[in-house]
């Protein structure tokens, strides 16, 4: 580097410039080799274009196929269930076989109660555990909890039902809504733990440090800044978890049992949409089948509504237009 400046000018006089520039009197004409190369590459370009188009259409088909089951189910449910979806379906109780009319008012309310009670159990534990995992990233306990909640997340729901039956139904001597809520709440916990942890991890360290530097204690920083910033994500996770347990049937079979009558007590067996659908669908009666379809339609609508709410929650970020 330093040598360059010291070199006398005379040494670097004519750098073979004329050899590089084409002779002005001779127009540029590609050689045979150049022409062959151009043809070859043109062929590859065309082939690439075709391959690209094929792959893109395959991906497009896959994307369409991914939504097909839902669209098909919705269409099918609409076709079979919409006729039974009268106001009476939402307000009336189930009627005995042979009597016309009747609804699933008790099952709809029962499902809402179950979701509420399960959330009351699952939300605080799940979010709290998620916060712990995020704050104590590398701790041995955190690693163990993270692994176990992944396992729990994959646990078949029927196993959760048997577990709840063993510990909450058998000792008490009868089925109850509470046992079902515990089973569903336990299913929510691992989902919430992992979403909360992921969301909190996305909160920039700079924000956390800013709060600490202003004299916020650690837990307070967690609860205000971190949860506030990660809030929309956590809310989304919570809604998704609710949507997932809303349709669970297997754990309810062992715990909630179902109820043909009106009951809102947590200590009693309670009706639930998935159970009612299950009961009606396996019955031999046509009108019950129709009601089962309508029940399925209501259940899926409920889940869709929760899903839309989740979308809305993610969009409600304060000052999202910055940066």
């Amino acid at each position: 580097m330093a040598g360059l400046a010291g070199r006398p000018d005379g040494e670097r006089t004519t750098v073979s410039a004329p050899a590089i520039a084409p002779a002005p009197d001779r127009p540029h004409r590609p050689s045979d080799r150049q022409r062959a190369f151009a043809e070859r590459t043109l062929g590859t370009v065309q082939r690439r274009r075709i391959v690209n188009a094929v792959m893109l259409s395959l991906l497009f088909l896959a994307a369409i196929a991914a939504t097909l089951p839902l669209l098909f189910i919705l269409f099918h449910l609409m076709r079979l269930g919409i006729t039974s979806l009268t106001p009476a379906f939402f307000t009336k109780m189930p009627r005995p076989v042979g009597e016309a009319g009747g609804g699933m008012a008790n099952a709809i309310v029962g499902t809402l109660i179950l979701i509420g009670a399960a959330s009351a159990i699952g939300l605080p534990i799940g979010v709290g555990a998620g916060l712990y995992l995020a704050e104590r990233r590398g701790a041995r306990l955190a690693n163990a909890v993270r692994y176990l909640s992944d396992v729990l997340n994959g646990l078949p729901s029927i196993v959760m039902g048997i577990f709840a039956w063993q510990f909450l139904v058998r000792p008490v001597g009868h089925f109850s809504a509470l046992a079902g809520a515990v089973a569903l709440g336990a299913m929510m916990i691992p989902m919430l733990t992992r979403t909360t942890e992921e969301m909190v991890r996305l909160v920039p360290v700079a924000l956390r440090e800013a709060a600490l530097a202003l004299g916020y204690s650690k837990w307070r920083t967690s609860l205000t800044i971190v949860v506030r910033t990660a809030g929309p994500g956590i809310v989304t996770g919570a809604l998704v978890a609710m949507a997932r347990i809303a349709g669970e049937t297997a754990p309810l079979l062992f715990t909630v049992l179902g109820n043909q009558f009106w009951s809102v007590s947590l200590a009693e067996p309670i009706a639930a949409l998935p159970l009612q659908i299950f009961e009606y669908a396996k019955s031999p009666y046509e009108e019950w089948h129709a009601l089962a379809w309508a029940g399925a339609l209501v259940l899926i609508s409920l889940i869709l509504v929760i899903g839309v709410a989740a979308r809305f929650a993610t969009r409600q970020r304060f000052g999202a237009h910055g940066d």
Partner: protein, 275 residues
């Protein structure tokens, strides 16, 4: 306030911290053989330094020299990192910062901090500034209004922000956001303000505004600034300390340190031979 006339213009205070203990003005930071470890890695080796109040002290040195570690030791923000360990003394007004009975939360309210990358909370401008006072128990709306206005004025942001206090802080420009962070730190009414390369991500005009701000703020605060920019250190600071490989090499009045450094390593760094 009578102490204001006896401004810290003596260079020897930096050299002999032990002698100064017990007769300092409020807001004095004293390090005496202060060492710092991240796990097994020693980041600071027996640093002895006196940082006088009502002046700007610049910590300079190449990357990884420990200047940021030293800065973050003053408000114990390093505590968040697992496995850190300290030795020696670090005093704020004769109080041992690392004594076990020290309330870290109270300490951080006395020692404000501004970071390299501005980090306003995703809240309104008003809420950002009111964040600190609220945790201190100030709930009264009128008092909060007053603190917010005063802090924004001190950070020279009031005129730009007064009509949009309820707007998101993230709608401000980078330089404004950094001044908002200074206002947020000032709202706690700290005695010490730590700045970790506050202008390194700002454009020249915004940098100039922040530097002017420091010039005004040093009348009432102890300001410690870490900077990579030697010109900036020369412009804004009264005192400067040169760190190298975790050692404090030299400290003194900025002018003297920059024009006639005693240590060869200081001179080599200042003239751009390394770093």
């Amino acid at each position: 306030m009578s102490a204001a006339s006896a401004g810290p213009q003596r260079s020897q205070v930096l050299a002999t911290p032990k002698a100064a203990v017990g007769q300092t003005h409020p807001g004095t930071i004293t390090a005496d053989d202060f060492s710092f470890w991240y796990g097994k890695v020693q980041a600071l080796h027996k640093v002895s330094l006196l940082i006088p109040p009502r002046s700007v002290t610049a910590l300079v040195g190449p990357s990884g020299c420990g200047k940021s570690t030293f800065l973050r030791s003053i408000n114990r923000l390093n505590d968040v990192i697992p496995g850190v360990r300290t030795d020696g003394l670090l005093l704020l007004d004769n109080t041992d910062i690392y004594a076990s009975r020290v309330d870290v939360v109270a300490l951080r309210q006395r020692v404000g901090m501004v970071f390299q990358r501005w980090n306003p909370f995703p809240k309104s401008i008003y809420d950002n500034v009111a964040y600190g006072p609220r945790i201190n128990g100030t709930r009264d709306g009128a008092t909060l209004d007053e603190i917010v206005e005063q802090s924004l004025r001190r950070a020279a942001l009031w005129d730009e922000a007064k009509d949009r206090l309820r707007a998101s802080a993230l709608t401000l420009s980078g330089g404004q956001q950094q001044r908002l962070c200074i206002a947020r730190a000032l709202a706690n009414n700290p005695e010490v303000l730590l700045l970790d390369e506050p202008a390194s991500a700002l454009d020249p005009i915004a940098t100039q505004r922040v530097e002017e701000l420091l010039y005004e703020l040093k009348a009432e605060l102890t300001i410690v600034i870490v900077t990579h920019n030697l010109q900036q250190a020369a412009r804004v600071s009264n005192h400067a300390a040169f760190f190298y490989l975790g050692h404090l090499v030299e400290a003194g009045i900025t002018e003297q340190l920059f024009t006639s450094p005693r240590e060869q390593r200081t001179e080599a760094y200042l003239t751009g031979r390394f770093g």
